[in-house]
């Protein structure tokens, strides 16, 4: 499974547990319960994502409203949604609808077994709205070009929206359905034409993607080739330099410097070439712009310096002692023997303790001894240079 957070699974059409028992939504990555069907019927339909798969919603709190069975009692519980948008579990569906159409136990609308679909969204209102809008979008697919002016187009959109609203909220359903049927009959030709257009557009999109992919591959191949060429060139230069050093009378240092300079020049030429290629593609516009802004800023201000591991000389007097691989140390005997092996597994290192002891022992060795200072004790606590109170000075 991928380690990416939540969103990956949904896009890939896997079964994703949304919500569920955990409280932190952004970080739920526990294993998803696999939905196993206990029914012999295969329930089709549901909200399909672009790849044609249905992502099924399930959570730890699922409970069948009909038989009250929940995921705790029945880990294989699978809830399906009826065409009247009521949930029930597979076994209830089998029990109630196997002998033919029967009323829904919740709203008593007559249902068939095949009217049940898997659930995609947590909220059934959303489920319903998405289904209705998908259905409408198939038929009401006119575009801006199909209208003479903007007002007409807007009126059309308004009407579609009204129809959607009515269907979603169960207002005047028969009239609305009649309206849809009328529209369908009146615009059959245009609808078919627009479907064709959509398909053509999708095809063009796919071709474009294909083209991009091939281009990327070509670019990768070119990069490999370039690297190879670079390697060859470097080798050649190296050889040249060696022969020159053998034969020429000139100063060796100068020759090496010259060779290095030419190499540097070649490298920088290559990188500028590459960056100009990179600038035009790949990242989104915003990203490119941001990057450009940053590089521009970078040019005007302080240059980046090469990495220096430590910016102080702490390890300058490391040579005052050498840590031996082992010491005869009764205090750490238990650790070194480590009968259960738990200290090793836990990562405790005796070396760290030894190193600490040794460093503490040698740390003050280089300090000058205090000589020539007056030894009489002062009567009052004084404050030293660091601002610490000296309670007693001996």
């Amino acid at each position: 499974m991928s380690n990416r957070p939540g969103y990956g699974g949904w896009l890939q059409g896997k079964t994703v547990r949304k919500g569920g028992a955990s409280s932190s939504h952004s970080n739920t990555r526990s294993s998803t319960p696999h939905v196993q069907s206990t029914s012999s019927t295969i329930f089709g339909g549901g909200i399909k994502d672009p790849s044609g798969r249905v992502t099924e919603y399930s959570s730890m709190e699922d409970q069948c409203p009909v038989c009250k069975s929940d995921r705790y009692l029945n880990p294989k519980l699978r809830l399906l949604v009826s065409s009247c948008y009521h949930k029930m579990c597979e076994s209830c569906i089998d029990r109630l609808f196997t002998l033919g159409p029967a009323p829904c136990p919740i709203c008593s609308k007559v249902l068939r077994k095949l009217a049940f679909q898997p659930q995609t969204f947590e909220d059934l209102e959303v489920e319903k709205e998405v289904a209705i809008r998908r259905r409408l979008a198939k038929e009401f697919n006119k575009r801006r070009e199909d209208f003479d002016d903007l007002k007409e187009y807007n009126d059309y959109l308004q009407e579609v929206e009204d129809i959607a609203f009515n269907l979603i909220n169960n207002i005047d359903v028969p009239q609305t359905e009649a309206k849809i049927a009328n529209y369908k009959a009146a615009n059959a030709a245009l609808i078919a034409l627009n479907i064709q257009r959509e398909e053509a557009y999708a095809l063009a999109l796919r071709e474009q993607e294909d083209l991009d992919r091939r281009e990327r591959e070509a670019r990768a191949a070119q990069l490999v080739q370039e690297a190879e060429q670079e390697r060859l060139e470097r080798e050649r230069e190296q050889n040249e330099l060696i022969t020159k050093l053998e034969t020429s009378q000139k100063d060796a240092k100068k020759l090496v410097a010259k060779a290095r300079a030419s190499q540097q020049k070649r490298l920088s030429a290559r990188t500028t070439e590459k960056s100009s290629v990179l600038g035009g593609m790949g990242f989104g516009m915003d990203y490119a712009k941001l990057l450009k802004a940053r590089t521009n800023k970078a040019k005007t201000s302080i240059p980046d310096e090469p990495h220096v591991p430590l910016q102080d000389d702490w390890y300058g007097y490391e040579d005052l002692y050498v840590l031996r691989p082992s010491y005869d140390d009764i205090f750490s005997e238990a650790v070194r023997k480590d009968r259960e092996g738990i200290m090793r597994a836990g990562g405790y290192m005796v070396e760290e303790a030894w190193n600490r002891a040794l460093r503490s022992a040698v740390a003050g060795l280089e300090l000058e001894p205090l000589v020539g200072l007056p030894l009489e004790p002062s009567s009052e606590p004084t404050i030293d240079t660091a601002g610490d109170v000296v309670m007693a000075s001996v």
């Binding site: 380690n3 970080n27 990555r29 980046d304 090469p306 650790v335 092996g341 290192m349 760290e352």
Partner: protein
């Protein structure tokens, strides 16, 4: 008034407290200034009264260790003084942390930026480790960013010095997502390598812009780690099955190369990340070794701290601060200020009566505001 009290009063006078900026479980943080120079500081007031057993452990730890540590990449403890029953830590003022920067979606990180932050983190950590101190709570939230871009380790409330051989330490340290597997398995003997794991998690988080190993619970955390990095084998991590909390997991996850998740990272980057997230603690890279890792020397060079991305919020607050900075009277007594001058303190002490009157006055003020428009 004896010498100690006098000294304490003197110290207190050096710092002026301004408004409250945050509140934690055991401390309140105020903004303030150094009276003499006007330099911005933060005052962390430890609540003592609420704890029956005296001063909170973390406050003691914080003072004990920060007093010793002076480094560019470690927050500086400027002073400590007491006011009434409270303990006040004067710290340098740092206005943002790495977590804010990671979460700010308007910022773009270059690989060089991440390198720079990592180098500063490792430098700070190396300094703690060389002084034999474990930080034990590294997370982006505790890596503060100074106005010049320098990153500083902060919050030494869980820090301690290296344990003597055979001494047990608590394993209930480090925020869960950054806690190494040996602590999740309740190992009581561990070393500086626990901090390295946390840094590895932060490193990954900087690249992913989302927490890398985010478990829902302590038990789930181990599962999350194994899922990401593969279940460890006895060969890979000798003895881990003998640790107190070990239970044979029901599923063994295969190793997936880091490359699969960090698609854009260079080989050097993944090499260092991999070495920070090694299961066997003793094989984990040390801070000093990490600083000498080829990753830091490779092109691009680490971004200069002054050019690192910073939060819009931070920039705005700084701008506002500078705009009003001119006419702020350092000695003025704003509503949040107390303990700045002796007479000020006295007024606080007089009676609860006055406090009540003041709060009523404020309430009236609010209603007036609500009615006026």
């Amino acid at each position: 008034m004896d010498a100690v009290e006098r000294e304490n009063a003197d110290r207190q006078k050096r710092w002026a407290k301004e408004q409250k900026v945050g509140e934690g479980t055991y401390a309140v943080v105020y903004r303030g200034r150094e009276v003499a120079t006007g330099r911005r500081i933060a005052i962390k007031k430890i609540k003592v009264g609420q704890f029956k057993d005296g001063l909170d452990m973390s406050a003691i730890r914080e003072v004990k260790y920060l007093r010793e540590l002076k480094h560019q990449n470690v927050i500086e403890l400027l002073d400590v003084f007491s006011s009434k029953t409270n303990l006040n830590l004067v710290l340098e003022f740092l206005d943002s942390d790495l977590e804010m920067i990671i979460k700010d979606r308007s910022l773009v990180f270059l690989p060089a930026d991440i390198k720079s932050w990592m180098a500063m983190t490792f430098r700070g950590l190396e300094f703690c480790h060389r002084n034999h101190i474990l930080h034990r709570d590294l997370k982006p939230n505790n890596l503060l960013i100074a106005s010049d871009g320098q990153l500083k380790l902060a919050d030494f409330g869980l820090a301690r010095d290296f344990a003597d051989p055979g001494h047990k330490m608590t394993c209930q340290v480090i925020t869960r997502w950054y806690r190494p597997p040996e602590l999740l398995l309740n190992s009581r003997y561990y070393g500086s390598n626990v901090d390295i794991w946390s840094v590895g998690c932060i490193f990954a988080e900087l690249m992913l812009r989302t927490p890398y190993l985010a478990g829902d619970s302590d038990i789930n955390q181990l599962d999350t780690i194994f899922r990401a990095l593969g279940t460890p084998t006895e060969q890979e991590w000798p003895g881990h099955t003998k640790l107190p909390n070990w239970h044979q997991p029901s599923t063994t996850y295969p190793k997936t190369p880091l490359r699969d998740l960090f698609t854009a990272a260079s080989a050097d980057t993944l090499s260092l990340l991999g070495k920070c997230l090694v299961y066997e603690p003793r094989k984990r890279i040390s801070a000093l070794e990490a600083l000498n890792h080829p990753y830091f020397f490779a092109i691009p060079y680490p971004t200069h701290p002054s050019k690192l991305p910073r939060c819009a919020a931070q920039l705005a607050s700084r701008a506002a601060e500078e705009a009003e900075g001119g006419d702020i009277d350092k000695m003025s007594t704003g509503p949040g200020v107390k303990a700045a001058e002796p007479n000020n303190r006295k007024r606080k002490l007089t009676s609860p009566e006055e406090f009540r009157v003041r709060s009523i006055a404020r309430k009236l003020d609010f209603t007036k505001q609500a009615n006026s428009p």
